[in-house]
């Protein structure tokens, strides 16, 4: 049986840059590779990625595999899967890391099935058991009500997807050195079973959720589209943007792309103002990393107060206008 050794990150490049989630994976991967004393490699796919490959080395990767004749975004999943499988055969890593984002969610389970590997999705922490040397994988379960820790031995490769924001993004060190290995992979076209007709990115006006320093989030308590005007005003004054829970999304008050939580965005702004939000674990999964969490809720028993740093019990319609005015005054 093959010896599996080393860590392979399935990385992503956007507009020539290593994405934030990939930098987070490098932090996690670097730590594991130091603990195991094994090499950290990364796979980068897309056009014009040579600069990104160098960047990856600065961030802490030992070996970069580049495949630059395939555009990443337009690649159907079977093609990407075939590519990763191919690199996997070359590198024979014991651990493969993906981000729990569009690509990882889709590809990682398929890869596990194909390779007969063990897999754990949406992990928040990875560690090497000092005694058994097995990989310990911590993952929120039951919507975030509990955390499970799984162990798998190293006779089989282990695939993991990491939740965004689970680690700080790696910082560059331009003195670092590593190998960049361009790989030419011939994909048998017959494996491609799906045609990707189009990829549509919905324009976000203003600040992206994953980059926002301040997020004012509204939930079921806002009770309609109109109420969000107050939230928008507060967000604007604080230089932030709007987020939502599942309820405004299901009710069609606000666009689904703003949803925060287990199945939406995972954010960690400096300030998260939760307005009319009960604090369900599935929602907190997306915002519990916020540095300061403020809750405004008319129910003193609401679970959100268990998680918040500051709280106001009251109707948001009464709480927000004076808050907006005071913030305006303070900002001057």
């Amino acid at each position: 049986m093959a010896e599996y050794k080393g860590i392979l990150i399935c990385g992503e490049v956007r507009e020539g840059k290593i994405t934030t989630i990939t930098r987070e994976l490098i932090t996690t991967g670097r730590k594991l590779s130091d603990d195991l004393n094994q090499r950290l490699s990364i796979l980068l796919i897309g056009e014009n990625i040579q600069e990104a490959a160098k960047e990856a080395v600065f961030f802490g990767v030992d070996v970069v595999y580049t495949v630059d004749d395939i555009p990443f975004a337009e690649s159907p999943p079977e093609q990407y899967l075939a590519l990763v499988s191919n690199i996997f055969q070359k590198a024979a890593p014991s651990i493969v890391l993906f981000g729990q984002a569009d690509m990882g969610r889709d590809i990682a389970p398929r890869l596990a099935a194909r390779l007969g590997a063990s897999i754990c999705m949406d992990c928040v922490e990875l560690a090497i058991d000092p005694e058994t040397r097995s990989l310990l994988q911590s993952k929120p379960v039951y919507g975030g009500n509990a955390v499970a820790v799984w162990a798998s031995d190293d006779v089989q490769p282990q695939i993991v997807t990491m939740r965004p924001r689970a680690a700080a993004p790696a910082e560059p060190d331009p003195s670092r050195e590593g190998e960049i290995l361009p790989v030419a992979v011939k994909i048998d076209e017959s494996v491609i079973k799906s045609i990707l007709i189009e990829t549509v990115k919905e324009e976000v006006k203003g600040i992206r959720l994953d980059e926002a320093k301040v997020i004012v989030a509204g939930g079921g308590g806002i009770d309609g589209k109109e109420g969000f005007e107050l939230l928008k005003e507060l967000a604007q004054i604080l230089g932030g943007t709007i987020g939502i829970t599942r309820v405004p999304c299901d009710e069609g008050w606000m666009p689904a792309g703003l949803e925060i939580g287990q199945t939406g965005h995972v954010v960690n702004p400096d300030l998260y103002v939760a307005v009319g939000i009960s604090g369900a674990p599935q929602h907190l999964a997306g915002c519990s990393g916020s540095k300061c969490l403020v809750a405004i809720n008319k129910n003193p028993e609401a679970h959100i107060f268990e998680e918040a740093d500051f709280g106001i019990v009251g109707d948001y319609r009464e709480a927000l206008p004076p808050l907006i005015e005071k913030c305006k005054a303070l900002k001057k």
């Binding site: 039951y142 919507g143 499970a148 549509v200 679970h303 709280g311 004076p322």
Partner: protein, 266 residues
């Protein structure tokens, strides 16, 4: 169009967090008292999507579940919504199966059913939140797979699927038969009719065991599991919320702004 929908029975995922209890010793979740288990919400949305396709294109909907004796309850729920048939895959030997074993068990049953154009699964089960079974099932059956579907249409004899992404969507086209995992963007599932509930409750749900599906004992149950659960715990909240009070809500709001300024957050 003949559709197979795979569904799972789970503890109600939307109970208040205070009602969520664990037995850390045995690493098990204690079912909340007085709150009955439910169909996994994403699976219910998969049933909804199947019903919409059936309304448009005709055909038959077969529900598949694997679980303990009570699991046929979710099959009956799906029948009450309008599905045509259901099968429960139940056997002591299935207990403790991981996602790979579960997908194997389902794939054995799907092979017996044989006559299908589409297999639908929820995007993930809201208990262990793995989101693995659908993808592994597709690999096992050699079917094209599209994950996280919001809508599914038939265009020129091909399946057209809108897949939700974090900042938009993608549109895929695949040939039949195919497997699609369903996301909550599908929208609210319908409610069962009174008559639907009555007639479903009278139905006898066929139960298939390990022998019926010719399951390889090495591939099912606890022993087949690729990893071990070493710990299960409820994360401790270390935070203490500072409640800002005032004679009126407005007064509290002003104090809040001042407090946030003091802390340097605004």
């Amino acid at each position: 169009m003949n559709i197979i929908v795979c569904v799972k029975q789970i503890p109600d995922p939307e109970i208040p967090p205070v009602k969520f209890k664990l037995d850390t010793e045995s690493r098990c979740v204690v079912p909340p008292e007085g709150i009955p288990p439910v169909i996994n919400p994403y699976d219910e949305q998969a049933v909804e999507l199947a019903l919409r396709l059936k309304e448009k294109h005709g055909g038959k909907i077969t529900i598949l579940t694997t679980g303990n004796e009570s699991a046929s309850g979710v099959v009956k729920h799906a029948l009450s919504l309008g599905a045509d048939e259901g099968i429960a895959l139940t056997d002591k030997a299935f207990e403790g199966s991981d996602s790979f074993s579960t997908a194997y068990i389902l794939s054995q049953a799907v092979r017996i059913i044989r006559d299908y154009d589409l297999v639908l699964c929820g995007r993930q089960a809201a208990d262990w939140d793995e989101s693995l079974v659908g993808a592994i099932l597709a690999e096992n059956l050699g079917l094209p797979l599209v994950t996280l579907a919001e809508t599914v249409d038939v265009v020129d004899g091909e399946l057209k699927v809108k897949r939700v992404t974090l900042d938009g969507y993608q549109v895929f086209s695949v040939s039949f038969p195919a497997l699609v995992t369903v996301s909550h963007e599908v929208g609210q599932p319908r409610l069962p009719s009174g008559w639907g509930i009555v007639s479903a409750s009278r139905r006898q749900i066929p139960v298939w065991d390990a022998k019926d599906i010719k399951a390889d004992p090495a591939k099912i149950g606890f022993d087949a599991s690729r990893r071990k659960l070493v710990k299960l715990f409820i994360p401790k909240r270390e935070k203490k919320c500072e409640m800002i009070e005032g004679k009126t809500t407005a007064e509290a709001s002003v104090k809040l702004a001042e407090r946030l300024r003091q802390e340097g957050v605004i």
